[in-house]
């Protein structure tokens, strides 16, 4: 028997398989049900803090720290329809695996990303955080609302919507294994959508 191949998801993309997509679609369908809502205040607070921490880190453009919040094999998904849809047959506003997330950060730091030269300044408000149990004990789904005030090119605009975070236990900690950002205007033309949401 050969030893299992160790593949670095920052370098090659082997984990984005049909099963990966199917699991993602299933996890992000019909999950916001009262029966699975977590009542325990301490547990809710734990995930609320994680969502708030992510918002702070992104406002401060601390991208290495941000990537550290995610599992090595992760997805960052901004659907182009309010229903989320099937990313295998529909274009998304953004659909990144680990390597493409790192591409996104790399591009912003080349010094030639004109859409972010100078960088946007953002102030993110996250609220209405609810935590939902899953069939897997090592997984939680978290819903939150967001309003990102973005200052760019002399103006402040608001990007708003709700986020679904899929958290999983990884190396003894809760990490984000998938984030679905649902912009209210995801199916409309958006000016310069080039910040990390």
């Amino acid at each position: 028997m050969n030893a299992p191949l160790v593949r670095d998801p920052s370098r090659s993309s082997y984990y984005v398989t049909n099963d990966f997509y199917l699991e993602l679609i299933a996890d992000f369908a019909d999950w916001q049900v009262d029966e699975r809502s977590v009542e325990d205040a301490a547990e809710r607070d734990r995930f609320r803090r994680l969502v708030e921490q992510e918002a702070r880190i992104l406002d401060r453009l601390l991208y290495e720290e941000w990537l550290g919040l995610y599992t090595p094999e992760c997805a960052y998904w901004v659907p182009s329809t309010p229903e989320g849809g099937d990313p295998r047959t529909e274009i998304s506003v953004m659909f990144d695996d680990r390597r493409r997330l790192e591409d996104r950060i790399y591009r912003l730091r080349t010094g030639y990303a004109w859409s972010q030269a100078p960088s946007s300044r953002t102030s993110r408000i996250v609220s209405n955080v609810e935590v939902f149990r899953c069939a897997r004990d090592d997984q939680r789904m978290v819903r939150s609302n967001f309003a990102i005030s973005e200052f760019w090119d002399g103006e402040i605009r608001v990007l708003a919507g709700w986020t679904g975070h899929r958290f999983r236990q990884h190396d003894g900690a809760w990490r984000i294994s998938a984030k679905q950002v649902n912009l209210l205007n995801c199916d409309q033309c958006i000016r310069n959508p080039s910040i990390v949401l």
Binding site: P87, T89, V93, Y106, R107, T110, Y112, W114, S115
Partner: protein
């Protein structure tokens, strides 16, 4: 059907807005083309009313009574397939007071009822009824003028639906002319020679619509405007394994890729000759995308050499097929430019997927290839186009300087033996030349000077 001839406003007929020859010269254009709202108003009549304009793709309205809302210039439209399968472009404007009838992006409906006073129209455009008809001296449903206006000429070319208001325009296939060949090739590389539209990356910028069309064939900007993209997609590559558009990096004009003006404002950038002409030659330069190595290894181990042509179906076809004034086929995208005002434009990058028309791929390969094709298509709008539209906005800002009047498009101009007119009348030159701008703006000027025979149609 009845035709109603529509005269352009008097102001335009009696006194042309400008001397267009002064504003559009051989190698430069005046800033007013981009900054003057009055020029934009004329464009919406003479250009968007005067030539064939892309409206929609047939795959967006596959079934009877399907509709999408769209625009012809600024005219709000409902593009629908009526019960008999006829594709119509109805004005989304109640004949009573002018209210838009339909506010949804898409759907399926046999009729449209005005939300204001309740006038009800069939999707043939015919007025079906109004509330309390006794209050009118005559029966409105018997008077053609209360049927919805519609675009009098709607024609399709291989799934692409175009419309024009100009009764004097040549038939669509004639108007497309030589650009049909690259369109055919773009389609025919897919199974069954067809693609299906599947959502979009939708961008908006604060700038004139022509800034996008000026960019559509521009091989000169790539290495600067898209430097962040090219550096990113090659961050793991060495000289031998460079990806994406990196062929622009060194002496692009000495490469076999070329720019070709195809007449009637259309132009074509063909980068395919840069690639190795073999199955997998396209896939070989594809940059890194989610799921790429998984699908690639799976198909190669399962199908051997045949995998390469499958993977090419997920690759970005290296062409820019630009159909004046608002359509660009590039990579696997159907990009549409939608003017909003003289300084605001929507640029919509519709994605396309393929169908396993002849059953040769099988369900699993189709799923894998389409998923990968979605990811390849998301790359450029995310990492490339955002930088372009930022530059478009900054051009619009720069052009606010009234005294510095000219925009130059003189790259390649006046150099002997650089540009050649071919037997079919098309004009060919190196990839970074601005010849496509000089030629298309000549067509723009012709349209601005012309008096189009504009009409709308109503059912009888």
């Amino acid at each position: 059907m009845t035709l109603e001839r529509v005269k352009a406003p008097q102001r335009l007929q009696n006194a042309p807005l400008y001397d267009w020859d002064e504003l559009v010269q051989e190698d430069r254009v005046h800033r007013l083309l981009y900054t003057d709202p009055a020029v934009f108003d004329v464009e919406m009549i003479n250009v968007f009313g005067g030539t064939w304009v892309y409206l929609a793709h047939e795959s967006q309205i596959p079934n009877p009574n399907d509709f999408i809302t769209g625009k012809l210039g600024l005219r709000p439209l409902i593009i629908t397939r009526d019960e008999n399968g006829k594709i119509r472009a109805l004005y989304n404007r109640c004949t009573h007071r002018g209210t838009t009838l339909c506010r949804w992006d898409k759907g399926n409906s046999r009729s449209f009822q005005c939300p204001y006073h309740g006038w009800n129209f069939l999707n043939t455009g015919k007025l079906r009824g109004v509330p309390w008809p006794d209050g009118y001296a005559s029966k409105l449903v018997q008077d053609d003028k209360f049927n919805l206006a519609q675009v009098p000429r709607v024609e399709s070319y291989r799934g692409f639906i175009f419309g024009t208001l100009n009764m004097g325009a040549a038939p669509l296939v004639e108007h497309l002319g030589p650009i049909k060949k690259p369109i055919d090739e773009w389609l025919d590389r897919n199974p069954g020679g067809k693609v299906i539209v599947c959502e979009a990356n939708r961008l908006k910028y604060k700038g004139n619509w022509k800034l996008a069309y000026d960019n559509s064939g521009d091989g000169y900007h790539v290495i600067y405007s898209h430097r962040s993209l090219i550096e990113t997609e090659n961050r793991f590559a060495d000289e031998a394994t460079k990806k994406g558009m990196s062929y622009y990096q060194n002496s692009p004009d000495s490469l076999p890729m070329y720019c070709q003006y195809m007449g009637n404002g259309h132009h074509f950038k063909d980068k395919r000759p840069n690639l190795e002409a073999r199955p997998g030659g396209l896939w070989a330069i594809e940059s890194l995308h989610p799921g790429m190595e998984h699908v690639q290894d799976k198909l190669r181990s399962r199908y051997g050499a045949r995998a390469e042509s499958m993977l090419d179906l997920a690759g970005s076809e290296p062409v820019n097929i630009n159909v004046f004034p608002n359509l660009s086929l590039l990579g696997n995208h159907i990009q549409v430019f939608q003017p909003i005002s003289f300084n605001e434009t929507d640029a919509i990058w519709y994605g396309t997927k393929i169908e396993d028309v002849d059953g040769t791929l099988g369900a699993e390969v189709l799923t894998d290839i389409n998923a990968l094709r979605m990811r390849t298509q998301e790359g450029f709008p995310n990492f490339g186009e955002v930088d372009d539209v930022t530059n478009f906005e900054q051009i619009q800002r720069g052009l606010a300087a009234a005294e510095d009047e000219w925009i130059y498009m003189n790259r390649g101009y006046g150099i002997p033996d650089r540009i050649h007119t071919l037997e079919d009348g098309t004009i060919k030159g190196p990839a970074t030349d601005e010849l496509f701008m000089r030629e298309y703006i000549r067509e723009w000027k012709r349209l601005m000077k012309a008096e189009p025979d504009i009409a709308i149609e109503r059912e009888v």
